[in-house]
Symmetry: D3
Subunit: 340 residues, 6 copies
């Protein structure tokens, strides 16, 4: 079914065990993750041929990041070695009324300081079917906006589909800068993934009557956001995730896929959360799989939402579910009975 | 109150810590458990004199299994040593919509390859009041159907009450084989424990209008199953557990005891699950205790269901509750207030 | 904003990891806590200048207790060294219908055997704004009732506000003894903290129509208790915590502050519990902070309840929340969305 | 080969993991041990029928201690339940020049406060072959000197051999008190176990030219101590352990058995220490086994020293070696080659 | 430098943490290893292109084994999925005089029951430079002797160098059977790796004057063994590892490489052992690397021995050293100074 | 005895547990340390009044570093909050022939980017007796050379003794730059601490006939280095640590103190290493304590070397020994016998 290539930062994720706060913990669980790395892992677990592209330092910490990707079968042969450090982020898991916290320590990472010469996109994308990145990659600054432009242009030339998750991070850039840079990349994007806040933050696109933090979801509002995105950037499809935050322990989760004409909504799941970091990325990975697999829009959004619902039950960023497990939930089997 | 003897396999249980998936874990918690071993532990914790009978290899892993039983005061002097391996099963704990998984690696265990000569039931059951086994034991194959027959016949001769939990495992034998073998054993069984699926799988006995995975429970259906079991095999009592699977994190749990004339239903508990493996066995163990103690049917089923409700809040297979703790819940104290 | 001084016992808390029962565990998490130590930690985390006064043995275990307080910035220079042992308590965390258990091993601790000469209250309270203790301290017996009396009298002389959490412990003294001793101390108390049971157990003050274990809360009943306390002891304010125990995993939590004229009720929170030990103390610590800060009664009770709600999501006794985090929840932000 | 009965205190042992100091650790490994409990475990592991007698509180912590003994097959049916607490000791493992540290918190334990009525020695020792205690038991004070006297007198009457490890603990009693009490018990002791310091501390018996802390051992000195002990108390045999402390990581270890006429010395082992606490007890347990087994003196001391050498390679107090493993080392196989 | 292919079993290795004995442990560290898998990992860490060939079950446990190999960059695309179980072995780490123990539970593993059709050696070995297996693979029985013969014949046809580590395991087959089967395979082997015992056990080839367990090594004896192996099977080279077992904590380690004419001895290293399982395999992996790299015999044996010396300092079976690290030690830098 | 002030960087130290390599570990132990922070901790543990001065970010990770210092009683009130990140270093513990590894990720830390205005040395050093820093602090670049100059000049003005550990780090600056900057600071240094390499690297001062990596120590060479340092910079005293690296597991350790006239050598200790990172800092901390305490030169060097010998037996950077423990070793008690 062709090869998927994802491009972005991979970081060391450090989190205290269980529900310990940062100030209580003297051990950290160390895993390696990032928006596009997470998508690559999802795809690999669905059996796709996937390559992840980034730059990591030529020491053991960089090697750990590579090993974490190889572990699940991701092709890491296009990962550049060099630079001084791997970005780090610290995650503290919330519970009930206490919110989870993420502290980033990602400045001056190897990928953030990468140069255009580090990546030969013609070679990297040769034989690829799909290219995925998120708004985080250009937000890292330096030459990355240009490198991303290079990548998506090359993809277009080679007939490679392009998906982008807007993923606005206000710690990395201003709304203005995000809007300006993303506007140069969006014309090459076939499938745009967002949540309502992203569209508003990056492009000033608003839906009506939706209060994100209240957990209320307005179907019409989401459709309106998708329509605007499609129109402005000639996207083929827009997918939106709908999170209802009851508390740090309980969320509702659903999604919508808009194909330029119609909007397809998934079921909504009530989730007891194990770890919600990476939830959005797992939606993207599953959506790519279902679109590459030629699923129709309803089946695609059902698959993507079921997959990302399951991600919330898995520790750390990576979604470690098989196609069979996702399809079982998408088909309505949510009873959680023991499988012997 | 006499001695309880249980007979069956004890295995090493390996599970990743917390909610980690198999592919994420590089440590396993190692405990030792099995249907009849779990029942023995429950009885020991209620203060009964209990012996567990099995065969384990004459090396350290077999010794660990014995130690795990001795730890809680179970008499292990009738455990045979020999054979090559202890069976193993791997447990991955599910959460929310993600189901728990069990992978068995139990073929050719010491007990599965045991011979009739390994067990002198006259001696083992001397002085016993109660003998318990489950459908898993004969399902292990080899000489075990015969050994079980030996055991229950001897029990009958010695006036020892016999209980059996049908516990159908489709990985171990076909429905046909199960039906054929269990039909030879059931005539010696005084108390039959089952869930609706077991009765259907093993004996083709069905209840009406009940969709197990939907979590809806039909009282009449359960009574009908119990009646059919009682009639076909002249059991004295039939007990049925009623599980409503909301998700891997939340279950409803109740039970019914039928004494050939009337059916007694327990309250239903909404449970936040810590570990549900062994839940059925803990019902059996508590039922044996309450029947040996001469509880009336309503009190017996209330005790058994309260006990097994509490098992779901305990890690690993063993139910580690005292009589006092179970009775407190059975009496309605479910508020979980701190006991200082 | 002046200095807070708290006085009482600090113990080693030993609990099995996660939901393991005592009989399953071969490791214990070791932290150090106690009613007044917990209050001191809360205050320190809100940026107050706090000193904790106690007596601990002059060996490493005593040192560990001191270090645990210094860790969060509490002044430990008035902690006396001497005696033979640090008190210990064992905590087993419950879940769902299984209650948490606390086993105390605190007899003959250094503080319980302390003498009046160990504490020079004039010196200790010099420059202080607030003095806090709980009913546990005099309950430890020996010279402690007298020492407490010394302390509160000195506080009064120096114009230091005094707060007391009744915190009745039936393992430590009888209701009669508690009533007798506490009645000598209460005249010096400005702010009295209690739950309904405390007032009844210690002073025979009852509210109507409230069944504590049922989780039903009667507003009028709580006001009546507060009124009686105020009248009998001329307290300035009475604060009452309102716990609705659904199960060991889920509680409702609210509070009331009565200023001698009017009663101010907080919102009620539905909490998924991580660790509820120390929940009451965190209410006291937050109340002291809000009163020292000059909050009006409504804001004070809102702050205190939000803070103690959050405590239930934190492992071990100490409440490790900042003012900003508490105020965010008090302002209504309970959605638990990830803070990046 | 008859039954061994040991009598004394069992405590909870809490130690930081690995080489962490007390002030670094926030978890403790919890095991249960004590001089006579350790001896019982050794004997059980050699296949002897063993009962351990003590008193532990009727709560979960006491139960844990019982379970720890049952785990290895020790008969715990004569353990009394009652009293308020289980004694605790804290162990910090040293390394190289840093010494290990033990902090005791054992005052007022259930056994220390036991009364004569708690133990019916006629019944307990019925059918026994051997009774063992150490100098720690009477040192606990209260009625224990009398209870010990009861026990050894009864043993004598019933023809049960008595062994005693002097095990002087200066934290528990003065040399004078120890000398006075032990002198009343020694006349009933058949086999006395000691190290050079014990004999000097308790009875003022000195060997010439031996500097314990220097690691130099004088054979003649040890023989002289044994002779004096034998003469004064009409012991049948005296066994002395010879420890050469190079550092906390490396010790030399040997032993001597004196049968009233001749002294038999074992080989000396150079040991890389894993955990040396319980090393002396493991010598006692193995000596009892070898004497009960009718080994000649040379074989007996070789077995006892090999067994206790191996103890130093095992975490925590219990010696978990089989007869076959001990005999392999006693026969000279110290190469440590992997056994597949 | 061409591709290395290794073929054999990969098992789950379960070991208690640290120095705990099996009977003390309730957690196991789970890694995945096996003679030929270990060699593949060594080669991958030296930067070689390596494929590992085996058969593992099509469930999560089999997947874990594959992931463990992919983690370090080994090509797993020729691993067959099928069969019922992954072999398991339990490792207990010894210390000082206490030997390490290995308990195998490997019968009926997927690879042991593999059929000739599972492996198309023409395809697998296409483009390969080197093929490695050990005596364990044919010892697994079933069709494996034939499959191995297939493999080495194909290798010869394709001009692929073949190395074999005799690795005799008496739990798997008799000396006679081993001798018979290995004699059919050896004619295709270019480089034979052995220790003195292997040659004696499998082919009855003895060296004079060497007592393996005493730790004394006779250079002449080893040369004589190598000469005999070379002559009998026309090997190009024979490499012998020389282990001097001082204790489970300390070993001496050296090696010899014989090229049919001359014998080249490495330095001998005194090693403080962290984990010696996999030590022999790490020698094989490093030898393959050095021979593929065209090192002369002295440099090759120096590299192989330095590499395998370092393996003894690494937990679990895999040798995780880089070429640079091995060469630094081979060049004499054994001081262990911190590398900043 | 006056207050000690130390100034420098504090970092998060992340190390895999035990002897795991970076590429094996998915958890890190997290502690907080740095050359001058380590010295402060040593002093605090000896009972000195100590303040540590640095700058850490105003988020939780920075708070953790402060808490780690407060834990042991260090005054942190002069620590500035600000900047973006805390420096990090990764430590992999070596064993036997495998060297330990340190990977630094410290660029752009809060302290490295601090400005002169952040520290008001007049205020900070008011009431101080001693000021300590190491060559690492100016090596961090930015304004730090200037800030250090400020500090030492102010110290001189206020009559505060100044000590400096040369501590050359080639990853931070070139020898030339180090020489140039340090030459401006040394005139204000009273006590200079170094190892032979430092003096050579920073100032080109060489001793004769000493091969550091060989573990051979030449007394005369060390005296010559000290003499040259004293002469060039008018130091009062020069202290040199003498490390003999046998392997990563075993080191010899000694030291020399030169007072401008005579050289005093300590004993040399053979150490089984637990963790040698921070060993040099512990020497500095103990030397400061002994000089402040007015010890004579021989006693001072004996104390400093005994203290730092003991540091090698303690996990992580901090030396957690009391005066009594250090003096016991300095007095010759190295037998490591259990202290009960």
């Amino acid at each position: 079914m062709g090869k998927v290539v994802t491009f972005g930062e991979i970081m060391m994720r450090l989190n205290p065990p269980g529900y310990l706060r940062f100030v209580q913990s003297n051990t950290f669980e160390a895993t390696y993750a990032g928006g596009e790395a997470n998508v690559a892992i999802s795809c690999a677990n669905y059996g796709l041929d996937v390559a992840f592209v980034t730059k990591v330092p030529a020491q053991e910490i960089g090697q750990c990041a590579i090993n974490a990707m190889r572990h699940f079968g991701v092709d890491t042969s296009n990962i550049k070695r060099g630079g001084d450090r791997l970005g780090i982020y610290f995650v503290e898991k919330g519970a009930s009324q206490r919110a989870s916290k993420v502290i980033y320590d990602r400045a001056d990472s190897a990928i953030a300081l990468a140069s255009k010469n580090d990546f030969d996109w013609k070679e990297i994308l040769a034989g690829a079917t799909w290219f995925h990145f998120t708004g985080i990659t250009p937000a890292l600054g330096g030459e990355l906006p240009e490198i991303c432009l290079d990548a998506v242009k090359t993809a277009k030339e080679l007939g490679v589909k392009v998906s982008c998750d807007l993923n606005y991070r206000n710690k990395l850039w201003s709304k203005e800068e995000a809007g300006r840079v993303m506007a140069t990349l969006m014309p090459y994007v076939d499938v745009c993934i967002a949540n309502e806040e992203d569209a508003a933050d990056v492009f000033g696109i608003h839906a009506l009557d939706t209060d994100v933090s209240s957990g209320k979801l307005s179907h019409d509002g989401y459709i309106s956001v998708a329509e605007q995105l499609c129109k402005r950037f000639q996207c083929e499809k827009v997918a939106i995730t709908l999170r209802g935050s009851i508390s740090a322990s309980d969320n509702n989760w659903a999604g919508m896929l808009y194909d330029g004409k119609e909007a397809y909504f998934s079921n909504s799941y009530s989730i007891r959360i194990v770890d919600r970091v990476g939830g959005g990325d797992s939606f993207g990975g599953a959506l790519i799989y279902s679109l590459i697999s030629g699923y129709d829009c309803q089946k695609a959004i059902d698959y993507a939402v079921a997959a990302s619902c399951l991600k919330h039950t898995i520790e750390h960023d990576f979604n470690l579910m098989s196609v069979q497990e996702v399809e079982s939930l998408a088909a309505g089997n949510a009873s959680g009975r023991v499988q012997r």
